[in-house]
């Protein structure tokens, strides 16, 4: 009789433990999969890469390059209806004075040419995240490279910003 009573209580206990463990496993799986993959950094990186490929064609400056260079058109960037979610900026620095400016910490303040497309308001998110990375604001990708333009040499800086918060962050 004693043994039967103990077995009954223990059976209830084991079922309770089983329910707790099962519930926890379900909670862990649900928690893990409820966050969407944040691919904005990759997306920004791909855009930067595409722009860089367009500006520097196998090491040479794009033959269509001029002072009215339209990135979106020449580099075949189609932002469509999501224009507010993206920003692309390309800065050209005169390479002859670039090194000197760098030594004086003013290099990235004086581009000789700037081309941009998209929503410029989201560019400020990059400044916010310079010191600390936050989850919600836009993701930025900033890269620089040297390009040979025949008579003129440039240091080119490409900045791509992707907001698309609702699709990538929960």
């Amino acid at each position: 009789m004693n043994k039967n009573g103990a077995d009954k209580v223990l059976a209830v206990y084991w079922f309770a433990i089983l329910a707790i463990i099962a519930g926890s496993v379900v909670a862990m799986v649900l928690n893990f999969y409820r966050f969407p993959y944040d691919v904005r950094e990759i997306e920004a990186g791909i855009m930067t890469e595409k722009i860089a490929d367009c500006i520097s064609e196998a090491g040479k400056l794009n033959k269509n390059f001029n002072e009215n260079f339209d990135i979106a058109e020449i580099c075949h960037i189609n932002l469509n209806s999501e224009e507010d979610e993206y920003y692309i900026e390309t800065n050209f620095y005169d390479f002859e004075i670039w090194e000197k400016l760098f030594q004086e910490k003013h290099a990235l303040e004086n581009p000789i040419l700037t081309f941009s497309t998209g929503n410029s308001n989201i560019k400020t998110d990059c400044e916010i995240q310079k010191e600390k990375e936050y989850g919600l604001p836009s993701r930025c990708d900033r890269k620089g490279f040297y390009v040979n333009g025949g008579e003129k040499k440039y240091f080119v800086e490409v900045l791509s910003v992707v907001r698309k918060t609702s699709e990538n962050v929960k």
């Binding site: 009789m1 004693n2 009573g5 103990a6 209580v9 206990y13 433990i17 707790i20 463990i21 926890s24 909670a27 862990m28 799986v29 928690n31 893990f32 999969y33 409820r34 966050f35 969407p36 993959y37 944040d38 691919v39 950094e41 990759i42 920004a44 990186g45 890469e49 860089a52 520097s56 196998a58 090491g59 040479k60 390479f95 670039w98 090194e99 760098f102 030594q103 990235l108 989850g135 990708d141 900033r142 890269k143 620089g144 490279f145 040297y146 390009v147 040979n148 025949g150 040499k153 800086e157």
Partner: protein, 192 residues
């Protein structure tokens, strides 16, 4: 007489046990033993609950971390960087005298004069000025697997993170290496 009393006593206890359900029935031991065993079960249960709570919390933290997909260029196993390669190609195509830097290096088999100064101007500025001296960068003509020995002392320490090369012939190439003094994380800063 004593025997009858014990029997009666046993009978009474038996009745009481039938009427009332208690821990004594489950753990028919001494009081010390019962408390000890009960405590073991309570502690074990608490441990299970605490471990599960930690696991649930860890799943949230991990999910937040792992769903943030890093850019491809930050792949720790990759030693290639398309932007370094792009700069290198532009550098090699830059005019030097009547020819281009690539041809000059191919003919002279080494880097000197204009092409060396230009290399310093481009890559040292990008990696050692912008990168706040966290990097070593060098370029050399490599025959087979052996380098010319330029900047050899800088090879001895630091982690190699980027290596790009352009072939001059089947067994000769121009190799550009960027080595970090610190960790991988500073790489992003160096590429501006």
């Amino acid at each position: 007489m004593i025997q009858n009393f014990l029997l009666n006593k046993r009978g009474q206890i038996g009745e009481a046990e039938n009427q009332k359900f208690s821990l004594t029935q489950i753990f028919p031991k001494g009081r010390g033993g019962q408390i000890g065993e009960t405590m073991t079960w309570i502690v074990a249960t608490l441990l299970i609950v605490v471990l599960l709570l930690i696991s649930v919390y860890a799943s949230v933290v991990l999910a937040k971390k792992m769903t943030l997909i890093p850019p491809l260029s930050e792949n720790e196993f990759s030693i290639h960087d398309s932007f370094v390669k792009r700069s290198m190609m532009s550098y090699l195509l830059t005019k030097q005298n009547e020819d281009i830097v690539y041809k000059e290096i191919e003919n002279r088999n080494t880097m000197d004069g204009f092409n060396y100064d230009l290399f310093i101007q481009i890559f040292y500025t990008i990696y050692q000025v912008v990168g706040e001296s966290n990097y070593f960068v060098w370029m050399e003509v490599v025959s087979g697997s052996k380098g010319s020995g330029q900047f050899f002392d800088e090879l001895t320490y630091g982690k190699k993170i980027i290596s790009e090369s352009v072939y001059l012939s089947d067994d000769k190439k121009i190799e550009l290496n960027v080595r970090s003094k610190q960790d991988e994380k500073t790489k992003a800063r160096a590429t501006i």
